[in-house]
């Protein structure tokens, strides 16, 4: 790996902080997130409650910690689903296309288009309308939407690799489509997949917050950043910190992941480096 880019360092540090907070919340939070203390409601951020308290007197910082953990958990599983199902599908589509089976490729890609017609929110609305609300809905809705993203990306990467001579050499040695996909294609598209995964992760965090905000995601009493913002909305005029902190955490977390993704892309993409050197001056 070449020298670390500034974006990667900033993004990595932010991501590390939030991951740490999420893991810490399993063992310790300043207050019990479900502890209601009506006499201490609407405490302004200060020494006792660094992010203040809400209308039930619950500690915002503790809720933000657990909310961060929930957001990361939902996003991790959702992006995981997208990768585990999407990447093999994409590799299969590309492999079939390059080995004379363009029908399979065509069907898989039309399936992808179909999923793209259902933004996560619509999927979540349908699932919730039928099964009732819950964090699982958010995972399924976001996860399904991630499948075509990874399928397309790995298909595109694989298609360009299938024409390479080293794939030809492997075929001349008698290796089959599965073996080539696993041995030669996957390792060489892993870079772009990792970069995409960080981007999808950040999109999933926003999606989880949106779904929870409209009540289709994580359910009370389990804290979630999105729902905290929903509750804050009616009290925003006299207790604006209720909106500042959960929102700020979402922004910082997403920013961190995006910066890390950008930094990774710059570091992993030798083409970009070459391009920079080959520019035409203004």
């Amino acid at each position: 790996m070449r020298h670390l880019s500034l974006s990667f360092i900033i993004g990595g540090v932010l991501t590390f902080i939030f991951t740490f907070i999420a893991i810490l919340s399993f063992f310790w939070t300043p207050y019990d997130v479900e502890a209601i203390n009506i006499s201490g409601k609407f405490a302004v951020p200060g020494l006792d409650h660094i992010m203040g308290t809400d209308h039930f007197g619950r500690d915002i910082f503790s809720m933000v910690m657990v909310g961060t953990r929930n957001a990361i958990a939902v996003s991790l599983v959702a992006v995981g689903i997208g990768m585990i199902l999407g990447v093999p599908l994409g590799l299969w589509a590309a492999g079939s296309r390059m080995n004379g089976g363009s029908l399979i490729d065509e069907i898989l890609m039309r399936g992808n288009d179909l999923v793209f017609a259902f933004p996560s929110l619509l999927m979540a609305i349908m699932i919730t309308a039928v099964f009732g609300p819950g964090a699982i809905n958010a995972i399924i809705a976001i996860g399904i939407f991630n499948i075509p993203v990874f399928a397309r990306m790995s298909r595109g990467g694989a298609l360009s690799l299938w024409t390479r001579d080293y794939i030809m050499a492997a075929r001349v040695a008698g290796k089959g489509m599965m073996r080539i996909s696993y041995e030669h294609i996957l390792p060489n598209i892993l870079n772009i997949l990792i970069v995409q995964a960080t981007i999808q992760f950040s999109i999933a965090i926003i999606a989880e917050a949106s779904l929870s905000y409209v009540g289709l995601g994580t359910q009370p009493p389990n804290p979630s950043l999105g729902r905290m913002l929903n509750e804050a909305q009616t009290m925003i005029f006299f207790a604006p910190w209720l909106a500042w902190f959960p929102g700020g955490v979402i922004v910082a977390m997403v920013l961190g992941l995006n910066l890390m993704g950008d930094g990774l892309r710059d570091m992993l993409d030798p083409k970009l480096k070459k391009r920079k050197a080959g520019d035409v001056t203004a």
Partner: protein, 317 residues
């Protein structure tokens, strides 16, 4: 060209048909007995039976699917279970808020993003570029509903300029309504504009490396002229894809934004319907939105052909 349109049109129809089947399966088949579900725990068996007949649930799934599709084609979306009025009527009024909001946001997003992306790319590495892309990086990270809440806070309270919430209705006048939609559309558009600006910038940078830009420069065009005359149209090709995808995000995002600004759009209706277990309304709204997304994909495909002559002959790009 005609071959290309026909091909796209076929794929549009297939996607629509499969999408309606998916919606039908999730809402009417998977739950088992939608009527009992819609009645909730309090409902009596007789009432549920009556509803079953009213919804036509006593018929087979295949027959129900075709009568649903047939009904939609003639503008009949069924009767809302909670409001007891035709769904088409319920949706009709609200579409007049949701669709203009989405289109408005799309226009704003494009108008902001394209110039920002081009300016950033043409001054790559400069202070302007660093600032614009820094702002875009943060813009991408902001959830639009949170941004909307902050906008309400800033405009209605701190600045006190005008009420950021509520909608007077189109009969109150075009400009008044547009004004009421401006802040919601802006909050909706900004995060998408940030994404689009980044795509535009990298697309322009990519295009500026192409050999034909060098050819144009060898003719005696300056870097700037070469960018405007030869770069932009080519740079728009990947941007169009993103624009198409963004429409569906904006449509979905609009549903959320509407409730923050108390706009009487599809968003509020769909969440009320979920709460009231009114599956007929939910089904209709989801179907409409999916159709809108698919239509936009089709329009984007047509725009591709306009921008790129290689597609007009029906060959693969």
């Amino acid at each position: 060209m005609i071959h290309y349109i026909l091909k796209r049109l076929t794929s549009l129809l297939i996607t629509l048909i499969v999408a309606t089947i998916v919606i039908f399966l999730i809402i009417e088949v998977v739950p088992g007995d939608p009527a009992a579900y819609m009645m909730g725990l309090s409902g009596s068996t007789e009432a549920a039976d009556a509803l079953r007949v009213e919804l036509g649930l006593d018929k087979g799934a295949l027959e129900r699917y075709f009568s649903w599709i047939g009904g939609m084609l003639s503008g009949d979306f069924g009767i809302s279970y909670t409001y007891r009025v035709p769904v088409s009527q319920l949706i009709g009024e609200r579409t007049l808020v949701s669709v203009p909001l989405t289109v408005y946001a799309l226009i704003l997003s494009t108008l902001i993003a394209i110039p920002v992306g081009v300016i950033s790319a043409s001054r790559r590495g400069s202070v302007v570029d660093t600032i614009l892309m820094g702002v875009a990086q943060i813009g991408v990270a902001i959830p639009n509903f949170w941004f909307a809440i902050l906008m309400v806070l800033v405009f209605s309270t701190s600045l006190g300029w005008f009420s950021a919430v509520g909608f007077p209705g189109w009969e109150a006048g075009f400009w008044v309504s547009i004004k009421a939609l401006t802040i919601p559309a802006f909050s909706l558009a900004l995060p998408q504009a940030a994404i689009l600006a980044r795509v535009m910038r990298s697309s322009v940078l990519e295009v500026m490396q192409e050999d034909y830009i060098r050819t144009a420069r060898a003719k005696g065009l300056s870097q700037r002229q070469a960018l405007i005359r030869h770069g932009l149209r080519n740079a728009m090709i990947p941007v169009l894809t993103i624009l198409g995808l963004q429409f569906s995000f904006l449509l979905a995002g609009g549903i959320i934004i509407e409730s923050i600004f108390s706009l009487p759009g599809l968003g509020r209706l769909v969440f009320q319907s979920i709460a009231q277990r009114d599956l007929i309304v939910v089904k209709s709204i989801v179907t409409l939105l999916v159709m809108a997304v698919v239509m936009i994909t089709f329009i984007v495909d047509l725009l591709y052909a306009l921008v790129d002559p290689r597609l007009r002959e029906g060959g693969r790009g």
